[in-house]
């Protein structure tokens, strides 16, 4: 039994190098945690596709099952789940996020926390 929501997610994370499933939009985040990840990505000059899960309840639930991760936001780089707000923040502060973008060939500004 194929899952249309999983198929949509799989397509989005395959077609876009950096995808952020979030509450609200990049311009108008509607949750502090989502806003923080947006700030980090913008600070690093990374182009990303923001997907507002509030617009689609089946996506909001489906994304949690897709990765067995119970919260939003969720960041994907080159099709791989990187983490939520805590992990992305920790990786940004330790420099690991910049390394990940470099390894995956994602254009970014080499900035420190």
């Amino acid at each position: 039994m194929s899952n249309p929501v999983f198929e949509r997610i799989q397509a989005e994370i395959s077609e876009n190098p950096v995808v952020l499933y979030m509450k609200g939009t990049a311009m108008f985040p509607q949750c502090g945690f989502s806003a923080r990840v947006v700030q980090i990505l913008m600070h690093m000059g990374v182009k990303f596709k923001a997907v507002n899960v509030l617009e689609d309840p089946s996506l909001r639930e489906g994304i949690k099952q897709f990765t067995n991760w119970p919260t939003i936001p969720q960041l994907y780089v080159k099709g791989e789940f990187v983490g939520g707000c805590d992990i992305v923040t920790e990786m940004f502060q330790s420099g690991e996020l910049g390394q990940l973008f470099a390894e995956k060939g994602v254009e970014h500004r080499p900035v420190t926390a």
Binding site: K64, N68, W69, P70, F81, C85, D86, I87
Partner: protein, 78 residues
Amino acid sequence: MPMSAAEIEALIKAALPDAQVTVEDLRGDGDHYAATVISPSFKGKTRVQQHQMIYAALQGRMGGALHALALQTAAPQD
């Protein structure tokens, strides 16, 4: 039904008996906590896997009864 810091600690310890757990109530509303968990069971695991172990310990409350839990996880230094 909001959760208490003690409940969160108990659930994590039930699943990870060898863990050192500290839970901080960020806003006093039973909904926003920060937890630091240090456990040998995290050795060799990615951060995502470590956090998933905590979410599993919380038996589905994460994202429901518990709106926000800022997590810091690590294996003990050798």
